[in-house]
Symmetry: C2
Amino acid sequence: MTSVDHTIGTLGKLTGVNIETIRYYERIGLLPEPARTSGNYRVYGDTHVRRLTFIRKARDLGFPIETVRRMLALSDQPDRPCAEVDALVVEQMREVERKLADLERLRTELDRLARQCRGGLVSDCRIIEALSP
Amino acid sequence: MTSVDHTIGTLGKLTGVNIETIRYYERIGLLPEPARTSGNYRVYGDTHVRRLTFIRKARDLGFPIETVRRMLALSDQPDRPCAEVDALVVEQMREVERKLADLERLRTELDRLARQCRGGLVSDCRIIEALSP
DNA sequence: GATGGACCCTGTAGCTGCTACAGGGTCAAG
DNA sequence: CTTGACCCTGTAGCAGCTACAGGGTCCATC
């Protein structure tokens, strides 16, 4: 079993997570507090690398912090049904789809707006007009 | 010229903007400070209604506050080229398209993840696995 | 052993765009 | 004269970081 120790800087490089963000995750209890050296430096082991990698991947998929927290809790309880994890993923899918729908509506609106520009002066700008009552 | 006066509550109802938000817009200098009654109530006129409607529509299109501010400034200078307004719209389009692309990538990823669930226990959950290093 | 630079520490404030109080004042109807 | 609906200010909170300020540590080099 090869267990390597890392400073916060190394952990950041290994996982691609900003140092300040790592400390933030610790503060909100997402990442467990690591041991300290005599000089009060944080010392991370392989568990931390794994956990932080998990967090980063989940965050990259847009999962909110609180959902990541629940996922981590679940992954610590191997005898729970996988369906609980799946439900979180499905909920996130729905959320993403809601946002996609919103943005698509926006794009349509903006496109219509942009097409109305005929050059000229602000005084008879259709865009400004469209935004006015 | 019919000029009607409104309290903040009426203005909110007319424009669909939350009262607290209206005060917030005033604080950040987006909506000009209105006159006050002897009892220190804000009194809004038609200009305020127009301006706040403009703000709301622009915000609904996702324009950031600072962009709305520039748009309002432009709409106050009728002799400037309309192209400056158009540029803001085009930039917002790009922003929306960037976000759409991001979300579409997310949806694909999440979809793949969700499909991997075979039921069973967390211990051999593919989703958890996929998020682990 | 002194010095320099790269790294680490804590604590706090800022970002966006609101929203939600707490703790008060005003005003009109009944 | 009281009740209730409205208004006021000021401040804190949300998410999820990020960016300091003002210090300490560690290691290599002179």
